[in-house]
Symmetry: C2
Subunit: 218 residues, 2 copies
Protein backbone atom coordinates (compact mmCIF):
# COMPACT_ATOMS: atom_id res chain seq x y z
CA UNK A 1 0.00 0.00 0.00
CA UNK A 2 1.16 3.48 -0.83
CA UNK A 3 -0.33 5.10 2.27
CA UNK A 4 -1.22 3.88 5.72
CA UNK A 5 -4.86 2.98 6.33
CA UNK A 6 -6.69 5.80 8.02
CA UNK A 7 -9.36 5.08 10.59
CA UNK A 8 -12.03 5.96 8.02
CA UNK A 9 -10.71 3.69 5.29
CA UNK A 10 -10.31 0.82 7.74
CA UNK A 11 -13.92 1.11 8.77
CA UNK A 12 -14.94 1.36 5.13
CA UNK A 13 -13.07 -1.84 4.28
CA UNK A 14 -14.55 -3.66 7.28
CA UNK A 15 -18.13 -2.69 6.48
CA UNK A 16 -17.64 -3.39 2.79
CA UNK A 17 -16.29 -6.92 3.31
CA UNK A 18 -18.94 -7.65 5.92
CA UNK A 19 -21.85 -6.62 3.71
CA UNK A 20 -20.36 -8.21 0.58
CA UNK A 21 -19.94 -11.53 2.37
CA UNK A 22 -23.43 -11.40 3.80
CA UNK A 23 -24.81 -10.89 0.30
CA UNK A 24 -22.69 -13.65 -1.19
CA UNK A 25 -23.55 -16.08 1.61
CA UNK A 26 -27.24 -15.31 1.14
CA UNK A 27 -27.65 -13.87 4.63
CA UNK A 28 -29.26 -11.16 2.52
CA UNK A 29 -31.00 -13.07 -0.28
CA UNK A 30 -31.77 -11.32 -3.59
CA UNK A 31 -34.53 -8.77 -3.11
CA UNK A 32 -33.67 -8.06 0.52
CA UNK A 33 -33.88 -4.46 1.63
CA UNK A 34 -30.74 -3.06 3.25
CA UNK A 35 -31.99 -0.10 5.26
CA UNK A 36 -29.37 2.62 5.71
CA UNK A 37 -30.63 3.60 9.12
CA UNK A 38 -30.73 0.04 10.45
CA UNK A 39 -27.24 -0.84 9.20
CA UNK A 40 -25.82 2.45 10.46
CA UNK A 41 -27.13 1.64 13.91
CA UNK A 42 -25.79 -1.93 13.79
CA UNK A 43 -22.26 -0.72 12.96
CA UNK A 44 -22.37 2.25 15.28
CA UNK A 45 -21.97 4.99 12.69
CA UNK A 46 -24.15 7.51 10.97
CA UNK A 47 -25.71 6.96 7.55
CA UNK A 48 -23.01 8.91 5.74
CA UNK A 49 -20.10 6.43 5.87
CA UNK A 50 -22.53 3.59 5.31
CA UNK A 51 -23.85 5.18 2.14
CA UNK A 52 -20.28 5.24 0.85
CA UNK A 53 -20.17 1.45 1.25
CA UNK A 54 -23.57 0.91 -0.37
CA UNK A 55 -22.48 3.10 -3.27
CA UNK A 56 -19.53 0.83 -3.94
CA UNK A 57 -21.67 -2.30 -3.68
CA UNK A 58 -23.98 -0.67 -6.22
CA UNK A 59 -21.07 0.09 -8.58
CA UNK A 60 -20.16 -3.59 -8.35
CA UNK A 61 -23.70 -4.68 -9.10
CA UNK A 62 -24.45 -6.37 -5.78
CA UNK A 63 -27.20 -3.94 -4.72
CA UNK A 64 -29.35 -1.33 -6.36
CA UNK A 65 -30.48 1.83 -4.58
CA UNK A 66 -33.77 3.29 -5.72
CA UNK A 67 -35.01 6.64 -4.54
CA UNK A 68 -38.08 6.27 -2.38
CA UNK A 69 -37.89 2.48 -2.31
CA UNK A 70 -34.72 1.34 -0.65
CA UNK A 71 -31.45 -0.43 -1.35
CA UNK A 72 -32.21 -3.91 -2.68
CA UNK A 73 -29.92 -6.89 -3.16
CA UNK A 74 -29.78 -7.69 -6.87
CA UNK A 75 -30.49 -11.04 -8.42
CA UNK A 76 -28.26 -12.85 -10.91
CA UNK A 77 -29.80 -14.28 -14.04
CA UNK A 78 -28.37 -17.15 -16.02
CA UNK A 79 -27.39 -15.08 -19.04
CA UNK A 80 -25.31 -12.68 -16.98
CA UNK A 81 -23.78 -15.52 -15.02
CA UNK A 82 -22.78 -17.31 -18.22
CA UNK A 83 -21.04 -14.17 -19.52
CA UNK A 84 -19.25 -13.71 -16.23
CA UNK A 85 -18.14 -17.34 -16.08
CA UNK A 86 -16.96 -17.14 -19.69
CA UNK A 87 -14.65 -14.35 -18.65
CA UNK A 88 -13.61 -15.96 -15.37
CA UNK A 89 -12.44 -19.02 -17.27
CA UNK A 90 -9.97 -16.93 -19.21
CA UNK A 91 -8.82 -14.90 -16.21
CA UNK A 92 -8.25 -18.02 -14.12
CA UNK A 93 -5.98 -19.45 -16.76
CA UNK A 94 -4.19 -16.12 -17.14
CA UNK A 95 -3.37 -16.06 -13.44
CA UNK A 96 -0.91 -18.88 -14.08
CA UNK A 97 0.75 -17.08 -16.97
CA UNK A 98 0.96 -13.37 -16.09
CA UNK A 99 3.52 -12.35 -13.46
CA UNK A 100 3.42 -15.72 -11.68
CA UNK A 101 4.31 -15.73 -8.01
CA UNK A 102 7.07 -18.19 -7.03
CA UNK A 103 5.70 -21.22 -5.16
CA UNK A 104 7.19 -20.77 -1.70
CA UNK A 105 6.84 -22.92 1.39
CA UNK A 106 4.17 -20.54 2.68
CA UNK A 107 2.13 -21.06 -0.47
CA UNK A 108 2.29 -24.83 -0.13
CA UNK A 109 1.41 -24.59 3.54
CA UNK A 110 -1.67 -22.51 2.76
CA UNK A 111 -2.65 -25.02 0.10
CA UNK A 112 -2.31 -27.88 2.55
CA UNK A 113 -4.56 -26.06 4.96
CA UNK A 114 -7.20 -25.67 2.26
CA UNK A 115 -6.98 -29.39 1.46
CA UNK A 116 -7.55 -30.37 5.07
CA UNK A 117 -10.52 -28.05 5.28
CA UNK A 118 -11.81 -29.74 2.12
CA UNK A 119 -11.40 -33.13 3.76
CA UNK A 120 -13.27 -31.99 6.85
CA UNK A 121 -15.97 -30.62 4.60
CA UNK A 122 -16.44 -33.94 2.85
CA UNK A 123 -16.79 -35.66 6.22
CA UNK A 124 -19.54 -33.22 7.18
CA UNK A 125 -20.99 -31.59 4.05
CA UNK A 126 -22.46 -28.17 4.69
CA UNK A 127 -23.43 -25.54 2.12
CA UNK A 128 -22.24 -22.54 4.09
CA UNK A 129 -18.84 -24.02 4.93
CA UNK A 130 -18.51 -24.99 1.28
CA UNK A 131 -19.17 -21.41 0.21
CA UNK A 132 -16.62 -20.04 2.70
CA UNK A 133 -13.97 -22.51 1.59
CA UNK A 134 -14.72 -21.63 -2.01
CA UNK A 135 -14.17 -17.94 -1.26
CA UNK A 136 -10.89 -18.64 0.50
CA UNK A 137 -9.69 -20.86 -2.35
CA UNK A 138 -10.57 -18.11 -4.77
CA UNK A 139 -8.44 -15.64 -2.78
CA UNK A 140 -5.63 -18.15 -2.63
CA UNK A 141 -5.71 -18.65 -6.40
CA UNK A 142 -5.38 -14.93 -6.97
CA UNK A 143 -2.43 -14.69 -4.63
CA UNK A 144 -0.51 -16.77 -7.18
CA UNK A 145 -0.22 -13.85 -9.59
CA UNK A 146 1.45 -10.54 -8.88
CA UNK A 147 -0.57 -8.78 -11.55
CA UNK A 148 -2.73 -6.57 -9.36
CA UNK A 149 -5.21 -5.43 -12.03
CA UNK A 150 -5.83 -9.10 -12.82
CA UNK A 151 -6.50 -9.77 -9.15
CA UNK A 152 -8.95 -6.89 -8.93
CA UNK A 153 -10.89 -7.89 -12.03
CA UNK A 154 -11.10 -11.57 -11.09
CA UNK A 155 -12.22 -10.57 -7.61
CA UNK A 156 -15.03 -8.40 -8.89
CA UNK A 157 -16.24 -11.09 -11.23
CA UNK A 158 -16.11 -13.79 -8.59
CA UNK A 159 -18.15 -11.92 -6.02
CA UNK A 160 -20.59 -10.80 -8.67
CA UNK A 161 -21.88 -14.34 -9.19
CA UNK A 162 -20.71 -16.27 -6.12
CA UNK A 163 -24.30 -16.40 -4.85
CA UNK A 164 -25.61 -18.52 -7.67
CA UNK A 165 -24.02 -21.70 -6.44
CA UNK A 166 -25.54 -21.34 -2.96
CA UNK A 167 -28.90 -20.51 -4.48
CA UNK A 168 -28.80 -23.64 -6.62
CA UNK A 169 -27.52 -26.03 -3.97
CA UNK A 170 -30.96 -27.34 -2.98
CA UNK A 171 -31.21 -28.75 -6.50
CA UNK A 172 -27.70 -30.25 -6.48
CA UNK A 173 -26.12 -33.16 -4.63
CA UNK A 174 -24.15 -31.45 -1.86
CA UNK A 175 -22.03 -34.51 -1.05
CA UNK A 176 -21.13 -34.88 -4.72
CA UNK A 177 -20.19 -31.19 -4.96
CA UNK A 178 -17.95 -31.50 -1.90
CA UNK A 179 -16.22 -34.54 -3.38
CA UNK A 180 -15.58 -32.73 -6.66
CA UNK A 181 -14.24 -29.71 -4.81
CA UNK A 182 -11.89 -31.83 -2.70
CA UNK A 183 -10.63 -33.41 -5.93
CA UNK A 184 -9.87 -29.99 -7.31
CA UNK A 185 -8.03 -29.00 -4.16
CA UNK A 186 -5.91 -32.14 -4.23
CA UNK A 187 -5.10 -31.83 -7.92
CA UNK A 188 -4.10 -28.23 -7.31
CA UNK A 189 -1.89 -29.28 -4.43
CA UNK A 190 -0.07 -31.77 -6.68
CA UNK A 191 0.42 -29.13 -9.37
CA UNK A 192 1.82 -26.63 -6.86
CA UNK A 193 4.16 -29.20 -5.31
CA UNK A 194 5.51 -29.70 -8.82
CA UNK A 195 5.92 -25.91 -9.03
CA UNK A 196 3.62 -25.83 -12.05
CA UNK A 197 1.44 -22.74 -11.73
CA UNK A 198 0.05 -23.07 -15.22
CA UNK A 199 -1.19 -26.54 -14.44
CA UNK A 200 -2.85 -25.23 -11.28
CA UNK A 201 -4.51 -22.47 -13.30
CA UNK A 202 -5.72 -24.94 -15.93
CA UNK A 203 -7.22 -27.15 -13.24
CA UNK A 204 -9.02 -24.12 -11.86
CA UNK A 205 -10.27 -23.23 -15.31
CA UNK A 206 -11.54 -26.74 -15.91
CA UNK A 207 -13.44 -26.79 -12.64
CA UNK A 208 -15.03 -23.40 -13.18
CA UNK A 209 -16.17 -24.64 -16.57
CA UNK A 210 -17.66 -27.84 -15.17
CA UNK A 211 -19.28 -25.93 -12.35
CA UNK A 212 -21.04 -23.69 -14.87
CA UNK A 213 -22.22 -26.75 -16.78
CA UNK A 214 -23.74 -28.31 -13.66
CA UNK A 215 -25.42 -25.04 -12.72
CA UNK A 216 -26.76 -24.48 -16.22
CA UNK A 217 -29.16 -27.35 -15.78
CA UNK A 218 -31.61 -24.81 -14.35
Amino acid sequence: MAHAMTEASERFQRLYVTLRDRICLLDYPPGSKLGEEALAEEFGTSRTPLRRVLARLEDEGLVESRHGIGTLVTDVDLREMAQTYELRLELAQMAGRLSPQPVTFDVLHAMLDLVSRGEALQQAPDARSFARLSMDFHDFGLSLTRNMPLRDMADRLYYRTARVWLKAIPQLDLGHECAIFLDELRQTQVALEAGDLQAAALIRRAHISMSLKRLSGF
Copy 2:
Protein backbone atom coordinates in the same frame (compact mmCIF):
# COMPACT_ATOMS: atom_id res chain seq x y z
CA MET B 1 -30.81 -1.04 -18.80
CA ALA B 2 -33.13 -2.59 -16.28
CA HIS B 3 -34.52 0.69 -14.98
CA ALA B 4 -34.90 4.15 -16.43
CA MET B 5 -32.25 6.70 -15.53
CA THR B 6 -33.36 8.89 -12.68
CA GLU B 7 -32.38 12.54 -12.58
CA ALA B 8 -29.80 11.77 -9.91
CA SER B 9 -28.16 8.93 -11.80
CA GLU B 10 -28.06 10.98 -15.00
CA ARG B 11 -26.24 13.77 -13.22
CA PHE B 12 -23.92 11.25 -11.64
CA GLN B 13 -23.06 9.77 -15.03
CA ARG B 14 -22.52 13.21 -16.53
CA LEU B 15 -20.20 14.39 -13.77
CA TYR B 16 -18.38 11.07 -13.72
CA VAL B 17 -17.64 11.06 -17.45
CA THR B 18 -16.70 14.73 -17.39
CA LEU B 19 -14.19 14.35 -14.58
CA ARG B 20 -12.84 11.05 -15.89
CA ASP B 21 -12.20 12.55 -19.31
CA ARG B 22 -10.57 15.63 -17.84
CA ILE B 23 -8.20 13.41 -15.90
CA CYS B 24 -7.45 11.20 -18.90
CA LEU B 25 -6.91 14.21 -21.19
CA LEU B 26 -4.55 15.73 -18.62
CA ASP B 27 -6.74 18.77 -18.05
CA TYR B 28 -6.08 17.66 -14.48
CA PRO B 29 -2.50 16.39 -14.58
CA PRO B 30 -1.29 13.90 -11.94
CA GLY B 31 -1.00 15.62 -8.58
CA SER B 32 -3.75 18.15 -9.28
CA LYS B 33 -6.08 18.93 -6.42
CA LEU B 34 -9.78 18.49 -7.16
CA GLY B 35 -11.48 20.62 -4.53
CA GLU B 36 -14.95 19.38 -3.63
CA GLU B 37 -16.30 22.83 -2.98
CA ALA B 38 -14.94 24.29 -6.24
CA LEU B 39 -16.27 21.44 -8.39
CA ALA B 40 -19.63 21.49 -6.62
CA GLU B 41 -19.95 25.16 -7.47
CA GLU B 42 -18.92 24.61 -11.10
CA PHE B 43 -21.58 21.93 -11.60
CA GLY B 44 -24.21 23.73 -9.58
CA THR B 45 -24.69 21.12 -6.87
CA SER B 46 -23.68 20.62 -3.27
CA ARG B 47 -20.69 18.56 -2.18
CA THR B 48 -22.76 15.45 -1.49
CA PRO B 49 -23.47 14.23 -5.06
CA LEU B 50 -19.99 15.29 -6.08
CA ARG B 51 -18.41 13.20 -3.35
CA ARG B 52 -20.27 10.21 -4.74
CA VAL B 53 -18.49 10.78 -8.06
CA LEU B 54 -15.08 11.29 -6.46
CA ALA B 55 -15.60 8.10 -4.45
CA ARG B 56 -16.07 6.12 -7.64
CA LEU B 57 -13.05 7.73 -9.27
CA GLU B 58 -11.10 6.74 -6.16
CA ASP B 59 -12.33 3.13 -6.37
CA GLU B 60 -11.09 3.09 -9.95
CA GLY B 61 -7.72 4.46 -8.95
CA LEU B 62 -7.91 7.76 -10.80
CA VAL B 63 -7.85 9.97 -7.70
CA GLU B 64 -6.99 9.60 -4.05
CA SER B 65 -8.79 11.48 -1.27
CA ARG B 66 -6.81 12.27 1.85
CA HIS B 67 -8.33 13.70 4.96
CA GLY B 68 -7.19 17.24 5.59
CA ILE B 69 -5.29 17.45 2.31
CA GLY B 70 -7.58 17.12 -0.63
CA THR B 71 -8.48 14.84 -3.51
CA LEU B 72 -5.43 14.38 -5.72
CA VAL B 73 -5.15 12.96 -9.22
CA THR B 74 -3.01 9.81 -9.08
CA ASP B 75 0.03 9.15 -11.18
CA VAL B 76 0.69 5.98 -13.17
CA ASP B 77 4.04 4.29 -12.88
CA LEU B 78 5.57 2.05 -15.52
CA ARG B 79 5.24 -1.16 -13.53
CA GLU B 80 1.53 -0.71 -13.01
CA MET B 81 1.05 0.31 -16.62
CA ALA B 82 2.87 -2.80 -17.83
CA GLN B 83 0.62 -5.04 -15.72
CA THR B 84 -2.46 -3.29 -17.01
CA TYR B 85 -1.35 -3.50 -20.62
CA GLU B 86 -0.51 -7.18 -20.18
CA LEU B 87 -4.11 -7.74 -19.20
CA ARG B 88 -5.57 -5.43 -21.84
CA LEU B 89 -3.79 -7.45 -24.53
CA GLU B 90 -5.67 -10.55 -23.52
CA LEU B 91 -9.01 -8.79 -23.08
CA ALA B 92 -8.74 -7.12 -26.49
CA GLN B 93 -8.26 -10.46 -28.15
CA MET B 94 -11.09 -11.98 -26.13
CA ALA B 95 -13.48 -9.31 -27.38
CA GLY B 96 -13.34 -10.97 -30.78
CA ARG B 97 -14.05 -14.42 -29.39
CA LEU B 98 -16.61 -14.06 -26.58
CA SER B 99 -20.20 -13.30 -27.61
CA PRO B 100 -19.20 -11.52 -30.82
CA GLN B 101 -21.59 -8.92 -32.15
CA PRO B 102 -22.63 -9.39 -35.79
CA VAL B 103 -20.97 -6.87 -38.10
CA THR B 104 -23.91 -4.79 -39.28
CA PHE B 105 -24.02 -1.86 -41.64
CA ASP B 106 -24.10 0.50 -38.67
CA VAL B 107 -20.88 -1.00 -37.35
CA LEU B 108 -19.14 -0.55 -40.69
CA HIS B 109 -20.44 2.99 -40.92
CA ALA B 110 -19.06 3.85 -37.49
CA MET B 111 -15.75 2.33 -38.48
CA LEU B 112 -15.64 4.40 -41.65
CA ASP B 113 -16.24 7.50 -39.59
CA LEU B 114 -13.32 6.62 -37.33
CA VAL B 115 -11.09 6.11 -40.38
CA SER B 116 -11.93 9.53 -41.79
CA ARG B 117 -11.24 11.12 -38.44
CA GLY B 118 -7.90 9.30 -38.48
CA GLU B 119 -7.16 10.69 -41.92
CA ALA B 120 -8.00 14.21 -40.79
CA LEU B 121 -5.77 13.69 -37.77
CA GLN B 122 -2.81 12.69 -39.92
CA GLN B 123 -3.28 15.83 -41.99
CA ALA B 124 -3.17 17.95 -38.84
CA PRO B 125 -1.54 15.98 -36.01
CA ASP B 126 -2.68 17.06 -32.57
CA ALA B 127 -2.16 15.23 -29.30
CA ARG B 128 -5.54 16.04 -27.82
CA SER B 129 -7.51 15.03 -30.92
CA PHE B 130 -5.44 11.86 -31.04
CA ALA B 131 -6.38 11.05 -27.45
CA ARG B 132 -10.08 11.67 -28.14
CA LEU B 133 -10.04 9.48 -31.23
CA SER B 134 -8.23 6.80 -29.27
CA MET B 135 -10.97 6.87 -26.61
CA ASP B 136 -13.71 6.63 -29.23
CA PHE B 137 -11.95 3.76 -30.99
CA HIS B 138 -11.65 2.00 -27.67
CA ASP B 139 -15.41 2.33 -27.11
CA PHE B 140 -16.06 1.14 -30.63
CA GLY B 141 -13.91 -1.96 -30.10
CA LEU B 142 -15.86 -2.87 -26.98
CA SER B 143 -19.15 -2.52 -28.80
CA LEU B 144 -18.11 -5.54 -30.86
CA THR B 145 -18.70 -7.93 -27.97
CA ARG B 146 -21.98 -8.48 -26.18
CA ASN B 147 -20.24 -9.75 -23.08
CA MET B 148 -21.01 -6.90 -20.70
CA PRO B 149 -18.62 -7.89 -17.90
CA LEU B 150 -15.84 -7.97 -20.48
CA ARG B 151 -16.80 -4.48 -21.59
CA ASP B 152 -16.77 -3.19 -18.04
CA MET B 153 -13.39 -4.67 -17.20
CA ALA B 154 -11.73 -3.50 -20.41
CA ASP B 155 -13.18 -0.05 -19.86
CA ARG B 156 -11.79 0.23 -16.35
CA LEU B 157 -8.37 -0.88 -17.47
CA TYR B 158 -8.29 1.45 -20.44
CA TYR B 159 -9.15 4.57 -18.49
CA ARG B 160 -6.77 3.58 -15.71
CA THR B 161 -3.73 4.09 -17.94
CA ALA B 162 -5.00 6.18 -20.87
CA ARG B 163 -3.09 9.18 -19.54
CA VAL B 164 0.34 7.69 -19.99
CA TRP B 165 0.36 8.10 -23.73
CA LEU B 166 -0.49 11.80 -23.52
CA LYS B 167 2.12 12.27 -20.82
CA ALA B 168 4.78 10.65 -23.00
CA ILE B 169 3.88 12.35 -26.25
CA PRO B 170 6.49 15.15 -25.92
CA GLN B 171 9.10 12.40 -26.13
CA LEU B 172 7.48 10.66 -29.10
CA ASP B 173 7.07 11.56 -32.77
CA LEU B 174 3.45 12.71 -32.96
CA GLY B 175 3.24 12.47 -36.75
CA HIS B 176 4.60 8.93 -36.61
CA GLU B 177 2.09 7.96 -33.93
CA CYS B 178 -0.76 9.35 -36.01
CA ALA B 179 0.40 7.40 -39.06
CA ILE B 180 0.58 4.17 -37.05
CA PHE B 181 -2.87 4.79 -35.62
CA LEU B 182 -4.35 5.44 -39.04
CA ASP B 183 -2.82 2.17 -40.22
CA GLU B 184 -4.50 0.34 -37.37
CA LEU B 185 -7.85 1.95 -38.19
CA ARG B 186 -7.58 0.97 -41.87
CA GLN B 187 -6.50 -2.59 -41.09
CA THR B 188 -9.42 -2.90 -38.70
CA GLN B 189 -11.77 -1.58 -41.36
CA VAL B 190 -10.60 -4.27 -43.79
CA ALA B 191 -11.05 -6.98 -41.16
CA LEU B 192 -14.57 -5.82 -40.36
CA GLU B 193 -15.54 -5.58 -44.02
CA ALA B 194 -14.51 -9.23 -44.26
CA GLY B 195 -16.73 -9.89 -41.23
CA ASP B 196 -13.72 -11.20 -39.31
CA LEU B 197 -14.02 -9.98 -35.72
CA GLN B 198 -11.19 -12.15 -34.49
CA ALA B 199 -8.84 -10.56 -37.00
CA ALA B 200 -9.95 -7.12 -35.84
CA ALA B 201 -9.31 -8.12 -32.26
CA LEU B 202 -5.87 -9.50 -33.09
CA ILE B 203 -4.96 -6.27 -34.87
CA ARG B 204 -6.03 -4.36 -31.77
CA ARG B 205 -3.97 -6.65 -29.60
CA ALA B 206 -0.92 -6.22 -31.77
CA HIS B 207 -1.17 -2.45 -31.67
CA ILE B 208 -1.64 -2.29 -27.92
CA SER B 209 1.46 -4.43 -27.59
CA MET B 210 3.52 -2.22 -29.90
CA SER B 211 2.23 0.87 -28.17
CA LEU B 212 3.48 -0.44 -24.82
CA LYS B 213 6.85 -1.19 -26.38
CA ARG B 214 7.21 2.34 -27.71
CA LEU B 215 6.15 3.80 -24.35
CA SER B 216 8.51 1.56 -22.40
CA GLY B 217 11.49 3.44 -23.74
CA PHE B 218 11.11 5.77 -20.77
